[in-house]
């Protein structure tokens, strides 16, 4: 039975109560304790910097050439916090409620409440670091609105909020590197987790420049390696984003929770051809002022500006009048897919919908729109060659965020003692659908404000444990296994690239385990993935050597995706309900809305690794709602 270790007491007292009773490590002991942090995005940089400041000895790893490249950098629109600066009725409870409802009541109350509770401190911290958030003329912070809520609680730095928050965390990290409390290992990829006597004690990493396999020991290991949405190949993620660190931890005993819950973002640029490597996201903030529509006529051949108002179907405003264009992402994506599948899609491949700013430009003037979204309009023009001030953007849904991830308890610790997972790498806060501008928030809150406390609570019992011996047999075995796998991949000597397998897997998953899922399709996908995995180990080809070799890096990641993809299908198949981003076609209302089944499926599926080609072990953590009553999520 999984114990989430939720503190007793009223919702608003749980975190305070936890902090009041958590064990502490005194400053003199901290410098004896080593912590490994894998990943340098917002969650990784913030925890590594915070631990360094507190006096722990930290080693931090990233596969990029510098921590500042981590994909948090690409988050555009904003970060939520219930400061109530707009005096529009915001407070911790309302933010908690919006988030848990947005997640379709498939997240833990206590975790979500804590996220909302810590949100205000994050804005304080970021401002102190020099993050240049958007401001009013009086000098005070400004806010915008995001999907799924009716208040303005989103703080932003133009359309580059992720970049600015990440630079704040990166600079804090660089300061600690300079002070010597954090050691930085860029261009290093984690390839295995070391457990000794059941506890996380270190990692095996590969230096991607020299090819060397290195061993690093510690008293605790933190994975902040982000999401695995890149498993769909075409996604809004960076090319290097991967699930390898969490997958290898999973194979060492950490459970994976709700792995199939992937957010498909409604406002990405549509695919334009087979060669495509990436679907660029256009921030959800655009839906503040942009209106989404498709023509009322199938196969409309007029240009968008020539379609008169009465021939346009503003389908979000029509179906969800209360939230309209700011409906949550899962609902907006599904509604777009419904129109596209029904034959109303626009663009050369008929795979897009319009996002139209003409009314906003009319009402507010082009300068105001340029100030709010200038960089996004510029980016759109660079990629498509179209000026969106003059004609509507064409947008389409794309794989974006992993709500699923490593199962963690209230302390963000996985089922392996001493192994923590932060940010998108864990599953904890977003339920079955994440609200916009909550991902930056969660990554930061986990790293700045939660893990520093919960990690100390664990490390307090480790102060007598000597430094981990990297010549322990556990390291020998793991290092050998990692080297064997690299050599195996290199020696297959087939004729197909890692990208070929990645693209094929991505297509299977997008079609059968994407925006909508059905039992038959999922069963078929599992068979296809198994066959693809066999073909991978028979027909892969990796040119080049063991030092700098991007093909070898990709192949290792795809090998893991081929196992993780199967688990995703398994997870989606066993959840016989529709909730949030998980839409099973068998479970929908006559109007096409999701039908949740609280009687049978109010739980988190946490999967255990059973071994190669064996069915995963299904664990369930029941979700109990003491403080809110799950309702049918309505944005109508």
């Amino acid at each position: 039975m999984l114990d989430a270790k939720i503190p007793e007491g009223p919702l608003e007292d749980k975190w305070r109560h936890y902090k009041e009773h958590a064990k502490l490590v005194n400053p003199a002991n901290r410098k004896k304790l080593e912590v490994i942090v894998v990943g340098t995005g917002l969650a990784g940089s913030s925890i590594a910097a915070s631990l360094g400041e507190m006096g722990y000895r930290v080693k931090t790893f990233c596969f990029q050439d510098t921590p500042r490249r981590a994909h948090s950098v690409a988050a555009q629109g904003g970060v939520n916090a219930c400061k109530n600066y707009k005096n529009d009725g915001d407070n911790v409870f309302r933010m908690f409620y919006d988030t848990i409802k947005g997640g379709d009541f498939r997240a833990r109350e206590a975790n979500v409440y804590r996220l909302a509770e810590c949100s205000a401190s994050l804005i304080d911290q970021a401002v102190a670091q020099g993050v240049p958030f958007g401001r009013e003329y009086g000098g005070y912070l400004n806010n915008r609105s995001f999907g799924g809520v009716q208040v303005s609680r989103t703080f932003y730095a133009r359309g580059q909020t992720g970049q600015q928050l990440l630079l704040g965390a990166y600079q804090a990290l660089m300061r600690q590197v300079h002070l010597g409390s954090v050691q930085l290992f860029a261009r290093h990829e984690m390839l295995d987790l070391i457990t000794i006597d059941g506890k996380a004690k270190g990692v095996i990493v590969r230096n991607l420049d020299t090819g060397e396999i290195e061993r690093h020991g510690a008293h605790a290991v933190i994975l902040a390696t982000g999401g695995f949405g890149k498993i769909y190949y075409l996604s809004t993620l960076a090319m290097g984003c991967n699930g390898s660190a969490i997958w290898r931890a999973h194979k060492k005993g950490a459970l994976m929770a709700n792995p199939s819950w992937t957010q498909i973002h409604p406002t990405s640029l549509p695919q334009s051809g087979e060669y495509q490597s990436k679907l660029t996201l256009m921030s959800e903030s655009l839906r503040n002022d942009g209106r989404i529509w498709v023509p009322k006529k199938e196969q409309e051949d007029r240009l968008p500006n020539q379609v008169p108002e009465e021939d346009r179907d503003y389908y979000l405003e029509r179906r969800y009048p209360a939230f309209g264009n700011l409906s949550p992402r899962d609902i907006a994506s599904r509604a777009a897919k419904e129109r596209i599948d029904a034959g109303y899609g626009v663009g050369p491949l008929k795979n897009a919908v319009y996002l139209d700013f003409s009314r906003a430009i009319n009402d507010q003037g082009v300068d105001k729109i340029r100030e709010k979204y200038g960089n996004l309009f510029r980016m759109y023009e660079k990629i498509t060659g179209v000026d969106a001030y003059k004609e509507p953007m064409k947008i389409s849904p794309a794989a974006h965020f992993s709500m699923g991830g490593l199962w963690v308890d209230y302390e963000l610790m996985t089922t392996i003692p001493g192994l923590f997972a932060l940010g998108e790498a864990n599953f904890a806060d977003h339920g079955a659908n994440r609200l916009g501008a909550n991902s930056l928030l969660q990554a930061c809150v986990d790293g700045y404000f939660i893990a520093p406390y919960t990690l100390a609570n664990y490390l307090a019992d480790e102060i007598r444990t000597p430094a981990t011996d990297i010549h322990h047999p556990a390291f020998d075995a793991a290092a050998k296994q990692v080297e064997d796998q690299l050599h195996l991949l290199k020696s297959i000597g087939g004729r197909l690239s890692a990208d070929y397998f990645h693209k094929t897997l991505g297509k299977i998953l997008y079609d059968k385990c994407g925006l909508s899922r059905a039992a038959e399709g999922l069963e078929q996908a599992i068979r296809e993935i198994k066959a693809l995995r066999q073909q991978f180990y028979a027909d892969l080809f990796i040119p080049g050597g063991l030092a700098i070799n991007s093909e070898l890096e990709k192949a290792g990641r795809v090998a893991d995706y081929l196992e993780l993809g199967e688990l995703m299908c398994h997870d989606a198949l066993t959840r016989e309900e529709s909730c949030g981003a998980h839409f099973r076609v068998e479970y929908q209302t006559p109007e096409g809305e999701a039908m949740r089944n609280d009687k049978d499926f109010a739980f988190i599926s946490a999967w255990g690794w059973a071994g190669e080609n064996l069915s995963p072990v299904w664990n369930k953590e029941p979700l109990t709602f003491e403080f809110v009553t799950p309702t049918v999520r309505s944005y109508k």
């Binding site: 915070s50 400041e53 990029q64 050439d65 510098t66 921590p67 500042r68 490249r69 994909h71 690409a74 400061k83 401190s121 804005i123 911290q125 970021a126 401002v127 102190a128 670091q129 020099g130 240049p132 401001r135 003329y137 009086g138 000098g139 005070y140 912070l141 730095a157 970049q163 600015q164 630079l167 600079q171 804090a172 660089m174 300061r175 590197v177 300079h178 930085l184 860029a186 960076a238 090319m239 334009s272 051809g273 060669y275 495509q276 490597s277 990436k278 660029t280 510029r378 980016m379 060659g385 700045y448 004729r495 690239s497 990208d499 080809f541 040119p543 080049g544 030092a547 070799n549 093909e551």
Partner: protein
């Protein structure tokens, strides 16, 4: 489209390296420049040859990891555009395209088009931050920052650290990169406290890394994908001189 390519190949940092010729048929004008390189790598892989190594990650112009010299220009022919956001429609059928790594003493080539830009990290480590620990921050709205100042700080903070400014500079100067961070932080009341220490340490580190001096050719601004202004360099010099004068 049919294109010819001349690409810098270099096995490792010790190798001397050389330009090598390739040809690609059926290039789609809507492909991004890096997707064209992906296509070439697929072709090389089919022939059993080593892929061309190049830096890239987000492919949406914000992570700063990509960047090559394309026909002698950092990030290619378009203004304010990273390599990943350049599309093949900017070239013509039959073109020959020269692709080389960003070159500077402080950016050694690691392999093919991949370079080592860790010098930038060390410049930031020398002082490119506000010294605030987690937990020390006051209430956010207790530090009002006027709208124009906040916008100006953002303009400087938008730097993505790609290194194009260094690559186009005849002196391989990192003045634009360094001054952008100095400006971002000095404009804000939170960052003004450490202004003097910061500018001295960052400039000293920049020199120690082997970046050249700025001689005001403004090539950096012309090629910067984020439109970072050379006026920051003037501010950096002013701040530096002020700090030297006031040094105790």
């Amino acid at each position: 489209m049919h294109i010819r390519l001349k690409i810098w190949r270099q096995e490792n940092s010790q190798d001397t390296g050389k330009m090598q010729d390739y040809a690609l048929a059926d290039v789609n004008p809507d492909m991004s420049f890096l997707e064209m390189l992906d296509m070439l790598n697929e072709q090389l892989l089919g022939q059993g040859q080593r892929a061309i190594e190049f830096d890239h990650d987000c492919r949406e112009g914000i992570c700063g990891q990509c960047g090559v010299m394309i026909n002698g220009r950092a990030h290619g022919p378009l203004k304010n555009t990273t390599t990943c956001q350049l599309h093949m429609r900017s070239f013509r059928d039959g073109d020959t395209i020269y692709i080389e790594p960003f070159r500077a003493t402080a950016f050694p080539v690691k392999c093919d088009l991949k370079i080592d830009r860790t010098a930038f990290d060390r410049v930031i480590q020398a002082g490119g931050y506000i010294s605030v620990n987690t937990g020390q921050a006051p209430e956010a709205n207790s530090i009002p920052v006027g709208h124009p100042i906040a916008e100006a700080a953002f303009d400087a903070a938008a730097c993505i650290g790609c290194g194009a400014c260094v690559a186009v500079c005849k002196n391989s100067s990192a003045a634009l990169f360094t001054s952008a961070k100095i400006t971002h932080l000095v404009l804000l009341p939170q960052g003004a406290v450490e202004a003097q220490e910061r500018v001295r340490h960052m400039v000293d580190q920049m020199d120690a890394e082997g970046f050249g001096h700025c001689s005001n050719t403004e090539a950096c601004e012309a090629e910067c994908p984020q439109q970072i202004s050379v006026l920051h360099i003037a501010r950096m010099n002013w701040e530096y001189n002020k700090a030297q004068l006031l040094k105790k």
